[in-house]
Symmetry: D2
Subunit: 146 residues, 4 copies
């Protein structure tokens, strides 16, 4: 609990058969799931769940992008490195690289916003609770570009 | 509202690119989603949603099987025919065929049970509400084999 | 075959149960699949398949982005409107809106590049074949911003 | 290479956010992917890939079933234990349990058949190559029930 705030996580992953399309490469929609798996692992590393039972806030994605440089194939092992590029009052911005060995496979950005569920099932942006914000920090070298 | 109970639905569907695996055929996990899409369309045909906002009951799957006879490929059009084989107090049993033209692609069974959410997030089997059960009937010819 | 080149397609779609996450909204990874479904429908409208059997070229995605404005929920109907924003020698750039009634749900961009499979399973960028390029045109009003 | 034939694999896995549906439990279609992930890990343990580049044979699924006993939720860790129940000339039959701690979550069967791709893109059942069959054995205690 007194551990340092977290700003980065590196997830080791293997390509599964059902993630590969008929061209023999990972379907591009899967990269967004890889990034999210790494994000949730970062939260666990920080002692948190991004969606615990009975949560009062949630963190829907508001924007995301991916550039694809090189294909990934069945059973290849790769790393998903996610880093916090910015934390504002209501949002967190991540940057993410997917790497196989020393080959850059893809690079991404993703911004999530803290919301509270209001009557009528409306999602309203709200400040990230202090006990959550305290567990994260911007990754070294990324504070300037945020 | 006074329409006859429903016992069957035929869903016309086209194979999407992201559903096809590296062998060039629909990945087997997708057939379970095709069947479920047809089931939910049957419920809509009966004037119901299987998961409306604020629902007091839900219908988790308790068993399912699929036999695969012939492959499905990208952009092929096919039909998913789902029929009610049995309705007991707490469960509904479906049978389902996937057909392309006059070729049988696959055949399935699926049983779902009505549950109520109890304290501690426990799912407890409960009688299908009467206003739901009244909207469905066993398909002709299937009552004997149920 | 002598029909005019295509530059836009509007796909009508309904949210399926398996596309919705535990927050009750469509998981963000699905929007990329919705966009791709509309792209492939645009190609069919142009008399083409983006991945026909024995194809000599393929069109992997090289970059994509999505901004999410409003959530989509189970069984809602929505439209995916994809338009061609640019066609260069080797690439096609699309823009895409997801709309429910008159509510903008999300907006996207996607660039795909034509590749040829070379020995060693290498994908090499190549000119879009003339008979494919001739079937498409930049959408009115988008040529300036391309 | 001279290691003993393999008959079982236990895969440790964590539930990912995108696998959970709006009822807060893993969508049933995912269990078939969990089982397949374990199957492919079993093949790797046996020194094989089930779908290597340039493979002359493939192993499409011909039938499968799942019984669901207890729900799985976001971030829970669980084991997928797959065992070989039978190896015939052309087919392999697996049984599979999904377990969280000492709770049985679900139990499955799956049969796959060895096929060769023939002209016209036809898949024809063929004998499992000897060098593949030699790497596997029926799991102890399952030979009687096969």
């Amino acid at each position: 609990m007194a551990s340092a705030p977290k700003s980065e996580y590196r997830l080791r992953r293997r390509v599964q058969f059902h993630e590969v399309d008929s061209a023999g490469i990972v379907h591009f929609s899967w990269f967004f799931r890889y990034m999210e798996e790494a994000e949730h692992a970062l939260w666990r590393e920080a002692g948190l769940s991004i969606a615990p039972p009975g949560a009062e806030v949630a963190f829907p994605r508001v924007s995301t992008s991916f550039d694809f440089r090189s294909p990934l194939r069945f059973e290849e092992e790769f790393d998903v490195r996610i880093r916090i590029a910015a934390i504002s009052g209501k949002s967190i911005r991540y940057v993410c690289d997917v790497i196989r060995g020393d080959v850059l496979i893809a690079a991404a950005t993703m911004t999530v916003t803290c919301v509270r569920r209001e009557p009528g099932d409306v999602l309203k942006a709200t400040a990230i609770p202090a006990d959550i914000a305290a567990r994260f920090a911007v990754a070294p070298g990324l504070d300037a570009e945020a």
